[in-house]
Subunit: 167 residues, 2 copies
């Protein structure tokens, strides 16, 4: 029996037994302030909204922002701890087909780390104004990184199953 | 006193006290097999090498790959646990200037999660052949995600401090 954490498994979804113990641990280094208080209010796709969100870094790490102001875009990693972690096959409501967890950006995954590329508008002290996250208000922050177009941008990348939906 | 984990702080580097306790935990869901056994052998930039690396997923998660074969590129998250986690200002050997941790892709950061965009060559069972990681052999895997050019590719993004070096 796997623990469903209060969330049921939908028809067509498959859960596995997770390992007995964890292998590493994380610090929440800040919070992301957004206008969205319920999951159903969040934009499905970060590019759907131009809402300005605020990333508030724990003051102990403020010095770590030196040089970040010169970046136009950042990689933001954050923690989506509201979903179950044991699903390998999922059937999101808006797609009527079963797909593997690693073919989806769903928050339900063994390590619920989300990655968003955001546009940086400005920094004041430990607060960054950004456009491009689509998470719930108060979501825990894990990391900020400079976005390098030379290694991170692949304009012609294709997600085949998704492209097929639009045909 | 902060624990330096056996690594010293170089001139121009600044460490802070980390929080007393962790906030969340991770599973290692596989390993990344690469040709590099020592840190100094790893390519500094993942695009410098065309070496084919293998991502070996823990067999319990193999079903989670359904649909991944249709992706040309993936986001790979992995764990770089060899570096200290308390540095906020760093002076990498190859840049002679002090910069904030969040303006660098250095493995030394509060949560040492690395992000690489890789090209997927093929999948056999739970093994993925990819080009584009630059980590040590046996590095722990945290997550795989489909790379969506629509939200993840920003070709004109600029890291100002880095661009200035090349002028």
């Amino acid at each position: 029996m796997t623990n469903d954490g209060g969330y049921g498994v939908r028809d067509g979804e498959v859960a596995v037994d997770l390992p007995d113990k964890f292998d590493a641990s994380l610090y929440f280094i800040g919070r992301i302030r957004t206008p969205w208080k319920r999951r159903e209010d969040c934009p499905r796709n970060a590019r759907e909204s131009e809402a300005v969100c605020t990333i508030e870094l724990d003051p102990r790490f403020t010095e770590g922002l030196k040089g970040v102001e010169s970046c136009t875009h950042l990689v933001v990693l954050y923690w989506m701890d509201k979903a179950r972690r044991d699903l390998v096959l999922q059937k999101p409501r808006h797609y009527n087909e079963q797909r593997g967890t690693f073919a989806l950006r769903s928050p339900a995954r063994p390590n619920p780390i989300a990655m968003s590329v955001v546009r940086l508008l400005g920094i004041e002290g430990g607060k960054l104004s950004v456009v491009g996250v689509a998470c719930l208000n108060d979501t825990p922050l894990l990391d900020l990184k400079p976005y390098f177009a030379s290694v991170d941008a692949v304009s012609d990348a294709v997600v085949g199953w998704h492209a097929a939906l639009k045909r």
